[in-house]
């Protein structure tokens, strides 16, 4: 009986493992009153993507800041002075990019002059 319970538990652990299902990571950011950017990190099934590597890059691919999303699936950073993109890296091939133009509440003309490649 114990073996059966252990087997079923293992099976359930495998079937419901987030890694196995490999949901798509997504993130959405918004400007806060203090000129900081707050990003929500989720998987596409709306589960919280906690402790995910987040990298803030300038358009010349220089790393400006890196960190991890917290247990509530939140990552905050101060609004940079140049065009940037945020890379949410949930593992190889599971990457989502947030361009500064995707940030809610941010003027789309803010870095327009510098945004050209």
């Amino acid at each position: 009986m114990k073996q059966l319970i252990a087997g079923l538990t293992m099976l359930a652990a495998v079937l419901f493992s987030a890694v196995l299902w490999a949901h798509v990571p997504v993130s959405r950011c918004a400007v806060q009153a203090d000129n900081w950017i707050e990003c929500q990190t989720r998987y596409d099934d709306n589960s919280i993507a906690a402790d995910i590597l987040m990298g803030l890059y300038s358009y010349d691919n220089t790393l400006m800041l890196s960190g991890r999303s917290d247990v509530k699936g939140v990552f905050r950073f101060e609004l940079p002075y140049e065009p940037f993109y945020l890379l949410m890296d949930a593992g190889s091939g599971h990457v989502f990019e947030v361009d500064w133009q995707d940030i809610d509440g941010l003027d789309r003309q803010r870095f327009a002059a510098e945004s050209a490649y």
């Binding site: 490999a22 997504v26 959405r28 990457v95 133009q101």
Partner: protein, 273 residues
């Protein structure tokens, strides 16, 4: 038209295999079966069935083609079994007066209805059930959507030295999921000879800035699958970018027109932006 080819070849194959059996050969032709005829009929029958299978696989790929072939085998097999007794040129069966007499005597004694009318009713019921089953199977077949990569709207392209077919899994608008972002599912299949040369493929809206930010990778072996999240302010000008990495480490990137790959996703992005 391919359905017709598969059906006719399956029927021809079964007829040949049936005639390769002495009992059925005599029933149909009223002559005896020679050993050479038997060999030729058997070979022809199996070749016809094999040809039907190859045509089905060539048209619908292995998995769906196999199912279509088995479906037609079942239909023509059952049809042959039930039609054979009505073969018009069969030898007349010898009369059996003694048994008829016995049956008529039994009818007189018990007052039951004669046998043939009850048999006819049973035949009609069986035929009705079979037609019902065939109708249900046929209706389900017609309702089954064509595989995405076999649809006419599937995008065919070439990246580096490899040909590929890319298709959205369904033609509906992207599903709005977590954080109000649209998600669209795609399948890609590289040519059979080049599939082994490809290590990984990625799909992304907007041009990747580095290989690491090439987007979400396709998973799977032959038919590779990906769920693509659409950035909220992306425009059609940003394009859909396919990145393919070979096993030797070569990287190929290509911009695809979103409108060509997925009109529904293009409409969604127009509304969104």
């Amino acid at each position: 038209m391919t359905q017709l080819y598969v059906a006719v070849l399956s029927l021809a194959g079964f007829v040949c295999l049936m005639l390769a059996m002495p009992k059925h050969f005599i029933f149909v032709t009223q002559s005896t079966l020679g050993s050479r005829q038997k060999h030729v009929l058997r070979t022809t029958g199996w070749m016809a069935l094999l040809l039907a299978l190859l045509i089905a696989i060539q048209h619908w790929a292995f998995d769906e083609g196999l199912v279509v072939w088995l479906g037609w085998l079942s239909v023509v097999g059952v049809a042959l079994v039930f039609c054979l007794p009505y073969w018009p040129w069969q030898a007349r069966a010898a009369k059996r007066p003694a048994r008829r007499k016995a049956r008529s005597e039994e009818t007189e004694e018990t007052g039951n209805l004669p046998g043939p009318s009850r048999q006819r009713w049973q035949q009609v019921a069986i035929a009705g059930c079979m037609l019902l089953v065939l109708g249900v199977v046929g209706w389900n077949y017609l309702q089954t959507p064509l595989k995405p990569l076999l649809r006419e709207d599937a995008y065919k392209g070439r990246i580096g030295p490899w040909d590929y077919t890319l298709a959205e899994i369904n033609t509906a608008a992207p599903e709005v999921e977590a954080l109000q972002l649209g998600v669209k599912e795609f399948l890609i299949r590289f040519c059979d000879s080049c599939n082994e040369e490809i290590r990984i493929a990625y799909l992304k809206v907007r041009e990747p800035r580095t290989l690491r930010s090439s987007g979400v990778s396709f998973s799977g072996n032959r038919e590779r699958y990906v769920e693509l999240a659409i950035p909220p302010r992306a425009t059609l000008e940003d394009g859909l970018w396919l990145t393919v990495v070979s096993k030797q480490g070569e990287v190929f990137q290509q911009r695809l027109e979103i409108e060509q790959v997925s009109p529904a996703m293009a409409d969604f992005m127009r509304e969104q932006s």
